[in-house]
Symmetry: C2
Subunit: 145 residues, 2 copies
Amino acid sequence: MQRALDEARRAALAGEVPVGAVITDSTGNVLASAGNEVETRQDPTAHAEFLALSAAHAARGGKYLTDCTLTVTLEPCALCAGAIASFRLGRLVFGAYDPKTGAVEHGPRLFTQPTTHHKPEVIGGVREQESAALLKAFFEAKRDA
Amino acid sequence: MQRALDEARRAALAGEVPVGAVITDSTGNVLASAGNEVETRQDPTAHAEFLALSAAHAARGGKYLTDCTLTVTLEPCALCAGAIASFRLGRLVFGAYDPKTGAVEHGPRLFTQPTTHHKPEVIGGVREQESAALLKAFFEAKRDA
């Protein structure tokens, strides 16, 4: 999670909503990491976790990421939760809960749906306060700007 | 929908599950089209509609696709429905309903969720039988192979 938090801080410095993500394999080896790049790329799908999943997939080859863990500072949205299911990711670890757009523990709760054919192990709330504090500070600074 | 069906047929010839997608702007101009490329790319996120959305976004620049229509032969899954919401797509037209992995009229029904902040106009079942027949023929041929 430290590396994901570092990615989130780097994203904030680039004017991005501070979310960071890391993919590790079963030995803990880092396959990819990314921060949110929605503004930089002007691409609303360039979420940290989506970029990290795609990069890990590209780096490793093969079709799936069944033995991998995605560690991300914020609860994934529907797009990213859909990508997690598509890549058959082994484990999802996330920091802050996201009642507004989260799709794991909120809203569609995608991994509880019978139409979601792969469900990763999910561990939420890891270093939750640090992850949430980054987001809070970012939006407060933006509002005061 | 004709062009989406053509893309789906082309996908089937390449050994892909036959799904095709087209993005048009408000004047009906085609911005991008794609067939499913999951097997070709060995990428489980390379769905026809996701590829078409990304290509249209890249072709046009700007952040969103609010004035655009996605026409796809199959009801989108959670990943693609999430991408549709992220791109703030104006209208979704789809062919066959997908009770197994569909996320628009089945499962999470993503556009009915209060946590989905953009909901496109949705028209389902357009040339439904042709779209479904392509899929049925593909899976029957695969089963008999």
